[in-house]
């Protein structure tokens, strides 16, 4: 479908597919990114067609490098795309600050996919503020068709103003699907050349640099003014509603769909209008002034922070003479919640209170009985590691070693499936969890607090992809500064959480072609850390190693726990062991272990049968890792190797 030549034909496309198609219609040549929900499918879709569409597609080591790789494409005259989740923009922002000053050549589009409500994140960060901070244009598609069309236009806009354009998506567009009419594919393969011999001040032919800063900054702001002129006439900004509405809703992105729904549901389309903005920074002032002057009440619907609200209020204040007095409703006055994602109900509630239209979503009595029935009859689905997941085994050993050591040691974590060790799934082992690689940086700091009396053993955990992304500099820091800490690298051979994208430790690229891989163990050794390895499925050896390294080694050291993810294509559906519980040996509740197997280890494949009062293996769910056989103090869990 992505390379379909059926122009004008309509397909049901996921937002991320629509974006990828838009990039192909624009003739993108280079695409780079770092995996992160809800953005990953854009690069994945492009990678799948890379050989046929003459693209270079890369999963980069982190977001900053992906932006640099994409920029190189642009400097060489190619159209380039860079994709990341919201917090990736923070990582890329240092380069971005300089890139926007030097400007670009081939059209370059940066697409962050934000996750309001943190559905698949540990933050609900806003990327839109970066557009204002970096002084670059910001586009926000309001539906699936626009996701495709705006992506295509973003490349043209970028070339028109010779600078990066940011297009921001959100989970409810990226991971939602709707009808999209395809446009024409651009299949020309342009040739790349980097010109640098022109005048130092000539952005098109000279070296690509940020100096002299005042000169370049002036140029950059002139580009933004040019964008405003284009935005004033952009079809992506639309007004729907009566000429002089009682209430004007100003909105963007998925919130446009919620707002439209709210007016339809309340039958308020004759009383209220919607100004749907597709170009949200810089705001087109003439368009805004016209609409602000036509209404006395303005409701601003957006997620997550009051970005539009703040900017619109500044514009209204500057033009108060022509616009007149306005009553604003939004996040600042509490009409719209200031955290979490939006939905139709929030907008319905806001509009019904402003226009005094009664609405009942769910009768109170129904809601109450629904909550009680659901609470009592739908047991909660707590998140857990998959059956056969190496992390469960790794945390088992780390946790045991810290307990045996008895000095109140703790683990600093970061981002990946293994973050779930803040939950019972990982025995609550993780005690700090923030951003990519930050567990090791924080541990590096903790490891220097001995002189203040901190004598607790300090451990950090970091996944293999995360190690390359941001863990490496933290380890360098710990080694160089002589921090007393242990970094445990949970190497499951892939970026498992986001769907097995390759990273520098994997010998293949985004499209599956062979590439040289970087060996984590050699990297750690060459940094100067004492480095050990273990197989976490061997829990007795792993526990012994963790304890020994904590008690008998000093300085920054590394223990690599290497075992592939249970869902990896190589392992999925293949059992190493047949596992069973010998019911003659299992003592059940009389054992004295307090159900270590099912109450603590909590693998979905190991079931507590309350009628027999004994544990039993669920053959269908069990992945055959065999680890639980070593957990049982009575030796009731048996494993036998599967003959291949």
């Amino acid at each position: 479908m992505l390379l379909s030549k059926s122009e004008g034909k309509e397909f049901l496309l996921m937002g991320n597919q629509a974006i990828a198609r838009g990039a192909l219609e624009a003739g993108v040549s280079v695409a780079a990114g770092y995996p992160g929900t809800p953005s990953s499918e854009i690069i994945e879709n492009l990678a799948a067609v890379a050989p046929d569409a003459d693209l270079y597609v890369e999963w980069s080591v982190n977001e900053k490098v992906s932006l640099e790789v994409a920029a190189a494409g642009s400097f060489a005259g190619l159209r380039s795309l860079c994709v990341m989740k919201q917090n990736g923009v923070n990582v890329a922002s240092d380069f971005l600050l300089h890139l926007v000053l030097s400007g670009t050549r081939g059209g370059m589009v940066l697409i962050p996919c934000d996750d309001p409500g943190a559905i698949s994140s540990v933050n609900e960060g806003e990327s839109r503020y970066f557009a204002r901070l970096m002084e670059i244009p910001l586009l926000e598609p309001g539906d699936f068709q626009e996701a495709k069309d705006m992506t295509k236009w973003a490349f043209e806009l970028s070339e028109e103003i010779s600078n990066v354009v940011m297009l921001r998506s959100v989970t409810r567009l990226s991971h939602a699907s709707g009808n999209v009419k395809l446009g024409e594919l651009n299949r020309a393969k342009p040739s790349a050349k980097f010109n640098f011999s022109g005048n130092l001040l000539d952005a098109k032919t000279g070296p690509v640099i940020t100096a002299p800063v005042p000169f370049r900054h002036t140029q950059q702001q002139a580009k933004l003014k040019k964008a405003i002129d284009l935005f004033e006439r952009s079809p992506f900004n639309r007004y729907e509603g009566p000429e002089n509405p009682e209430l004007l809703i100003i909105t963007s992105s998925a919130c446009y769909l919620y707002s439209r729904e709210a007016l339809r549901v309340l039958d308020a389309e004759k009383r209220a209008g919607i100004l749907k903005l597709g170009t949200t920074w810089p705001l087109p002032p003439e368009l805004l002034k016209k609409h602000l002057a036509a209404a006395d009440k303005i409701l601003i619907v957006e997620e997550v922070l009051p970005f539009l609200e703040e900017n619109i209020k500044i514009l209204a204040m500057e033009n108060i003479d022509s616009i007149g007095k306005i009553k604003f409703f939004g996040k600042n006055n509490g009409t719209i919640p200031s955290v979490n994602e939006m939905n139709p109900d929030h907008v319905i509630k806001a509009v019904s209170s402003i226009l005094n239209i009664p609405y009942t979503g769910m009768p109170e009595e129904y809601e109450k009985s629904g909550q009680i029935l659901s609470f009592t009859k739908s047991p909660n689905r707590e998140l857990t590691f998959c059956p056969g997941c190496p992390h469960r085994a790794s945390y088992w050993s780390i946790n045991r070693a810290l307990t045996l050591n008895g000095k109140n040691g703790f683990v600093c974590g970061d981002i990946g499936c293994y973050t779930m060790a803040i939950l019972p799934a990982g025995f609550g082992t993780i005690k700090t969890a923030h951003s990519m690689g930050s567990g090791t940086g924080v541990a590096s700091g903790f490891g220097k607090l001995k002189s203040f009396g901190l004598n607790q053993p300090v451990v950090s955990v970091c996944g293999d992809s995360t190690f390359f992304h941001a863990g490496m500099p933290a380890l360098v820091n710990a080694v160089h500064n002589g921090s007393d800490m242990l970094l445990v690298i949970l190497d499951n051979s892939g970026t498992a959480m986001t769907g097995f994208q390759p990273h520098p430790g994997i010998p293949s690229d985004a499209a599956g072609n062979k590439l040289p891989s970087v060996d984590i163990e050699s990297v750690c050794r060459s940094i100067g850390a004492k480095t050990f390895t273990t197989d976490p499925f061997n829990i007795s050896e792993t526990e012994k190693k963790v304890l020994d390294i904590i008690e008998n080694e000093t300085g920054a050291r590394v223990l690599i726990m290497r075992q592939g993810c249970a869902l990896s294509p190589e392992k999925k559906g293949k059992k190493k062991y047949n596992v069973s519980v010998d019911s003659n040996i299992c003592k059940g509740t009389d054992c004295g272990c307090n159900r270590l197997c099912t109450r603590v280890f909590r693998c979905p494949g190991l079931v507590w049968n309350s009628s027999t009062g004994k544990a039993v293996i669920d053959e269908i769910i069990c992945a055959g890792c065999g680890v639980c056989a070593d957990i049982c103090p009575s030796g009731a869990i048996k494993r036998s190797e599967v003959m291949s």
Binding site: L12, R172, G178, T360, M362, W608
Partner: protein, 204 residues
């Protein structure tokens, strides 16, 4: 058909929730409708609930989230998920068609939480909606040769309620685009089986 018609497909990670939503969405798109699907699958691979909202309309796209209490049809690939969805999006008039095969949450597996019996669950569901039908989709899929066919049976069951403007031919053309030719017949068989089962659900 009520416009927009609001469908929720709910289940647990690994059940093929997203695929089932796709099949139904593509069939309706082919029938000339605007379809908007909103998906929540962030925790899908880690034992969490998964939910797809489908909005079907002759006029336009709708938002990817159904307002609270406004579902018209709930397709539950896992039985207790029907109750969870009813509590948030249900109303007396919503139609529920649910698979009977449980997938136990880890709390139940560990013996910390209780999973209701099917009659018990049926009673709870009946307190929230007037038309709920349970069908042995997984069992039937296994009989047809593969448990994965239970999704197709469930989509067939949804079609069998007679609420959706889809016919066997449009479904067949979607299936043909998504499975190898040798598998088309068995998928159509599963789809038709689902249609039959919807009018002859489990009796309590």
């Amino acid at each position: 058909m009520i416009d927009p018609f609001n469908i929720i497909i709910t289940g647990v990670g690994g059940q093929g929730n997203v695929l089932a939503a796709r099949m139904l969405g593509n069939t309706l798109t082919k029938a000339g409708y605007y379809v908007t699907i909103g998906e929540t699958f962030g925790a899908s691979q880690r034992g969490g609930s998964v939910m797809s909202h489908l909005r079907v309309s002759k006029e336009s796209s709708w938002s990817p989230q159904i307002p609270k209490g406004k579902a018209h049809l709930i397709i539950a690939l896992e039985p207790i998920e029907s109750l969870r969805v009813l509590a948030a999006y249900g109303n007396r008039d919503v139609k529920v068609v649910s698979n009977t095969r449980p997938i136990y949450p880890v709390g139940v597996i560990c013996g910390d939480l209780a999973y209701p019996s099917l009659p018990d669950l049926n009673t709870a569901v009946a307190q929230l909606c007037d038309d709920a039908r349970f069908i042995n989709a997984t069992e039937e899929a296994v009989a047809l040769g593969h448990p994965i066919l239970s999704n197709v049976i469930m989509v067939g069951a949804a079609a069998g309620l007679g609420l959706l403007p889809i016919d066997d031919e449009s479904f067949k053309s979607v299936i043909s685009e998504n499975v190898p030719e040798s598998k088309i017949d068995i998928n159509m068989k599963a789809y038709r089986k689902g249609k039959e089962m919807a009018v002859d659900p489990v009796k309590f």
